[in-house]
């Protein structure tokens, strides 16, 4: 179920293609461009956590729109990584409420422990650190998001260690969480 990354032609995995087909039913037929953001999320998950120009071209082709219509959108929204990233992208909230509960210290500690600087990747390729704005979890600050998971109340060394250990233990593969989507046909769930 891996997406194809042959040198000549990129392709979404069969599960990804099925999910795209389902998404397109959500919008009027002449408004399929609406599916752009959801499809960019799929693309980023399938092709190594970032969207290269080639991947964005594939998205444009899928939606039958001009590549520029994808570029101008992917560069506007902060979730889309336009450069290669490490195995795990740690998105550290830096906004007021998290700052009040120690996000500056958390960032400094994560830089020290992982060896990565904010905006960069650790030498072992495991962790990319990214500072982001408010993640809407202010009551559980400080907070880090890694893909689809929120790690909250990271104000003790134990909590930070637990997060990093959990991530180190994960074997990296494209996360195809839509495989678990309840609205997918059963045949796709067991792959």
């Amino acid at each position: 179920m891996e997406p194809t990354t042959s040198p000549n032609k990129l392709q979404f995995s069969p599960a990804g293609q099925a999910e795209i087909k389902r998404l397109l039913t959500h919008y009027p037929e002449d408004r399929s461009k609406s599916a752009l953001l959801p499809i960019l999320h799929i693309a980023q998950a399938e092709f190594g956590g970032w969207v290269s120009p080639e991947v964005q071209d594939l998205v444009a082709e899928t939606l039958k729109i001009k590549p520029i219509e994808v570029y101008e959108v992917s560069s506007f929204y902060t979730m889309f990584n336009l450069k290669p990233v490490g195995k795990h992208v740690l998105e550290i909230c830096r906004t007021g409420p998290c700052m009040l509960r120690g996000s500056d210290e958390l960032t400094a500690n994560l830089e020290r422990i992982t060896g990565a600087k904010v905006g960069g990747t650790s030498p072992d390729g495991n962790f990319t650190l990214k500072e982001v704005e408010c993640l809407a979890a202010c009551g559980f600050a400080p907070v880090v998001q890694v893909r689809e998971k929120y790690y909250e109340q990271l104000d003790t060394p134990e909590a930070v260690d637990a997060m990093l250990n959990e991530l180190r233990g994960q074997i990296h593969r494209p996360i195809l969480s839509w495989e678990e989507s309840s609205s997918l046909p059963n045949s796709l769930k067991n792959n």
């Binding site: 959500h26 939606l63 506007f76 929204y77």
Partner: protein
């Protein structure tokens, strides 16, 4: 103990599933509306309830519904704004995670009232895991016959979809949200035309916050008049308050509007006071966009009356001595907080999140961030303090959308109430920039 209209069953085991939710009275409003009420009667109840938009603006929801154009043969839409990203606000995430069916029920009843046949929940992209929860719940609702063709044999049909954003605060602004839902950059639109006339795909559209839509079932079940009995004056019903910052018990609290601010902060039923036995210094009461108030003015109005958690009481005194209820993002700061640093942090946020369309916002938020950075790091001058106020003034009212005001108000208010602290950063830079330093002098109250 206040009534809990939205969250009464939030901690019931399995309440996120259709069966358990239904057992606790879920989807009754859909049955009542579709079987016994006309769409206009549903809208009338929402009008009577006095429910006001819970996303921040506080505009009467029923009136907004009443504005929806209904040209013959043109589809219209209800879009739920689940792009929760106002710093300090985290209520919608909790509500959707724990009570997905409450939002879905509100969407069905609301869509029926507005005559929408397709509706969308636009959720911020960071909450993809919540999107999965909602999609699962929607699939259950379809299976139970509450979504899809001919719901409960009423002849009314509705499709409901969840749509993720991609990380952009500006998409919480309703026209930016609609642009984003159309697959474009989140640039707010010029108004008029308003979404009620030309919204999604240039068709009539209502955009409502998650919490607003979640209040519709109880209003339909109990009647608008009953709902309006809770609260004070034009602040009716209950509100979810996201409490964060230096509190003993941060979290989400559903309060009856009218609760005294002091009780909310200090009572054990709510936030349980300020952490580490410290004193309260300031509060941002309604999300980062609203004016900050020093302790004295958040607990009591300038006239010495107890400040209440209502739209009116919090804005008593205008922006000179008051603030706003906003989204209910309640950020408390203890006596060790540096107001200059906090203001700089918020300015950086607005600069980062400005879509860049309007020069006053694009450039002005950058200037404010730079000047505040200078002051915070001990390189500022007295002139910089006035410069901040001047830039804030020039942004305000000169932009397409309210992000300009949202960026300007917190800066203007911080300088108004904590001017001495800004000056202290200029006169005592070494002291002010020492790690953990915070000015302990008195705030300016009027």
């Amino acid at each position: 103990m206040g009534r809990k209209l939205l969250t009464e069953h939030i901690n019931v085991e399995g309440i996120n599933t259709f069966d358990v939710y239904r057992k606790h009275g879920g989807y009754r409003s859909v049955e009542k509306a579709l079987k016994t009420m006309t769409p206009d009667e549903v809208t009338e109840e929402v009008k009577k309830s006095g429910l006001r938009g819970r996303g921040g603006a506080g505009f009467p929801a029923g009136m907004k519904w009443g504005f929806l154009a209904k040209p013959e043969g043109v589809p219209r839409y209800l879009v739920c704004n689940a792009d929760e990203s106002e710093p300090g606000t985290f209520k919608d995430r909790q509500l959707m995670t724990k009570l997905p069916h409450l939002l879905i029920e509100g969407m069905i009843t609301g869509s029926y009232a507005l005559g929408a046949r397709t509706s969308y929940i636009y959720i911020r992209g960071e909450l993809l895991y919540v999107l999965r929860i909602l999609e699962k719940a929607i699939a259950e609702a379809y299976a139970a016959g509450f979504l899809g063709e001919n719901i409960l044999g009423s002849g009314y049909s509705l499709d409901l979809h969840v749509h993720p954003g991609g990380g952009a605060y500006i998409c919480g602004e309703e026209t930016a949200l609609l642009e984003s839902l159309e697959g474009k950059r989140g640039n707010p639109r010029n108004k008029p035309p308003f979404p009620a006339v030309q919204g999604l795909y240039a068709r009539p559209t209502v955009v409502n916050n998650v919490e607003t839509i979640a209040a519709v079932p109880v209003i339909v079940n109990e009647g608008g008049d009953e709902y309006a009995k809770i609260g004070i004056g034009k602040s009716t019903g209950t509100k979810l308050i996201s409490a964060c910052g230096h509190l003993n018990k941060p979290g989400i609290y559903e309060i009856e509007l009218g609760l005294p601010v002091e009780e909310f902060i200090y009572s054990d039923e709510y936030c349980g006071g300020i952490w580490k036995g410290r004193d309260l210094k300031a509060v941002v009461a309604g999300g980062s966009s609203v004016p900050i108030l020093p302790k004295e003015l958040i607990l009591k109005t300038a006239a010495g009356e107890n400040r209440l958690m209502t739209y009116e009481s919090l804005s008593d005194g205008g922006f000179v001595t008051g603030t706003m209820l906003g989204s209910g993002g309640f950020i408390a700061m203890d006596e060790t907080t540096c107001i200059v640093k906090n203001t700089w942090n918020f300015s950086r946020f607005y600069h980062h999140e400005s879509c860049g369309q309007c020069s006053p916002c694009r450039e002005g938020t950058g200037w404010m961030e730079k000047v505040l950075h200078r002051l915070e790091h001990g390189h500022g001058s007295m002139h910089d303090i006035d410069l901040l106020v001047s830039v804030a003034k020039q942004i305000e009212g000169n932009t397409i959308c309210p992000l300009g005001e949202a960026a300007a108000w917190p800066v203007a208010a911080a300088v108004r109430h904590f001017r001495h602290e800004f000056e202290w950063h200029v006169t005592n830079p070494k002291e002010a920039t020492a790690p953990g330093a915070a000015y302990r002098g008195a705030a300016v109250l009027a």
